[in-house]
Amino acid sequence: MNKTVNINLAGMVFHINEDAFEIFNNYINTLKNHFKNEEGGDEILKDIEGRIAELFTGRLDKKEAISLTDINEVIKIMGHPSQYDDEIEQEKPQEQQHKEEDLRKGKRRKVFRDEEERVIGGVCSGLTSYFDINIFWGRIMFLILLFIIGPGAPFIYIILWIALPSAKTTAEKLEMKGEKVNINNIEKNIKDELDNLEKKVRDFDKKMTKEVFGSKFQIFTTKCVDFFISVITGIFKFIASCFGVFAVLLGGFILVVLSTSLLTEGSFMLEVRQLFQYIFEEGEISSSLSIGIILFIGLPMVAVILFGLKLINNTTIHSNYKIGMLCLWFVSWFLLGNSGTNIALEFKKEAKNTTTETIDYNKDTLYLSMNDIDRNFDNAFDAKGFKVTPFEKELIGIGMRLDITKSKDSSYNLIKVGSSFGKNNQTAKRSAEGISFYFALEDEDMIFDDFFSIEKQLWRMQELDLTLEIPIGKTIYLDDSMEDLIYDIKNQENMWDYDMLGHYWKMEKEGLSCISCE
């Protein structure tokens, strides 16, 4: 008993024994491969299939299923592609002929996936055959790479899996395992190429003399053009493959960096992701932005690698993959745009929150200074006067502005005006209320903190303006450490902020007046 498979040849349905189907399928694949680079290859294949259908019909007079014998005879009638080449040498460009000669000598190599030796997709085995490394060591190297470049390795593997064709026909398997790639052979190849070029030049020379004197000027010019075209194509191909190698390396590098940095401590992308935690609530925007960034940068890099592989190895991927990638890329645009809008919306409204603190102090002179701790801030977040504290990883503001004005009563007051943005007035207000700022009063010293806290709130471009009110008749001293805090303080001497440091200032009815200046 035999199982049969149904096939459709030129619109006709045939039952074919399973064992025969294997052979037939292989045969058709060989033909497909043979004609794949030829113009009208599909049409040729269809014609051949039509003829085979005819031969099948002729053999199915008394039975219903096509057997192995039928297949073998039909293949004998139609012949193998190798037989066609023996009979009609196609008009191939010189390059291709060389390639085939090389192939017969087992010279040129192409990278394929070796599905016969595969564990996952045969990428390792294919690459090891290409570089002529023992497959065992190849896999060990892959595992080591897995540890070195981390999560990027499987990613690269999948790309190679998609991009590299598997070696199906005997010719491809030969190509896969051609001559060793080593310095000697590369040298030999270059030498061969040079000899080849030299020969071409010599031939050309001969032809020229012959043909010029044979006055077949037209043929001569065609040959001339052909010659230059072949030289230029040669040079171009060389440049193209160099460029291809470069593209693969560059794309691979960026991709490895990108994918690795997503998960590795201390890398750039992780810092970017850490920043998100100061800007977004956990979840939606943050992850859609991350995915958007990865796709937006990653996909073009994949395209660069594929382009490079095409230049080196002339491998192409199915256009469905390309369309899929393009679609994904547009999705990344959408994700980025969407999260961009969401971010912008988070900064739509601004609100202020004012608190006044009366300072319990009634001596005549108050010494103002700032608690200047050298914190060695984490530089990860350095926008709009914000830093991340090194230990708690908390976001703090450092860009406060202090003004000093006249008090309406006899007390020292500190007015704190915090402002913040938010999605709406309420959130902005809440965020502004979260701003807190502290100072210490020790004896005659008023020591300001050098930062304000936003109490674990998200970053919404919070700002803090401080105003210290001094009662008339009282004196303050501005310590040098106040340099970064004071901002545009009015005084009767019209002195710049910086020049006011290190002096005693008395509050008079008309404003601050310097009592220690000359």
Binding site: G50, R51, T57, M78, P81, I88, E89
Partner: protein, 112 residues
């Protein structure tokens, strides 16, 4: 130097000439052409013909029309185009020159 290479070199071109010549006398479908070429021992396997026909058709030397067949899929009937006829005329004269040249050179060799 391999004898097969030289042989295939010699056959190259002539096969196209033969196909055009067969079609000069009227349209034919691939099996007819194959039959004639096999008889003349110009080809051994049928697969050889199909790429050639497509190539000649793409060069606009041949054209075809579809015809339904009672025993199998529809068939392509090939015929020669005007361009093909001109091409064939040129090949005719080239062939005559070649045949003459071969005759002359082989003859001289015998005489010596």
């Amino acid at each position: 130097m391999k004898i097969e290479n030289t042989q295939s070199q010699m056959r190259k071109g002539i096969l196209e000439y033969c196909i055009l010549s067969i079609l000069k006398n009227g349209e034919a479908y691939p099996s007819d052409i194959i039959g004639k070429l096999k008889k003349a021992k110009m080809i051994v396997v049928e697969g050889t013909l199909y790429p050639l026909l497509t190539r000649l058709k793409n060069a606009e030397l041949l054209q075809y029309r579809w015809e339904e067949s009672s025993s199998g899929p529809p068939r392509k009937y090939y015929s020669i185009t005007e361009k093909g006829n001109t091409f064939l005329l040129e090949l005719d004269s080239t062939w005559k020159d070649l045949a003459k040249a071969v005759r002359l050179t082989t003859k001289t060799k015998k005489d010596e």
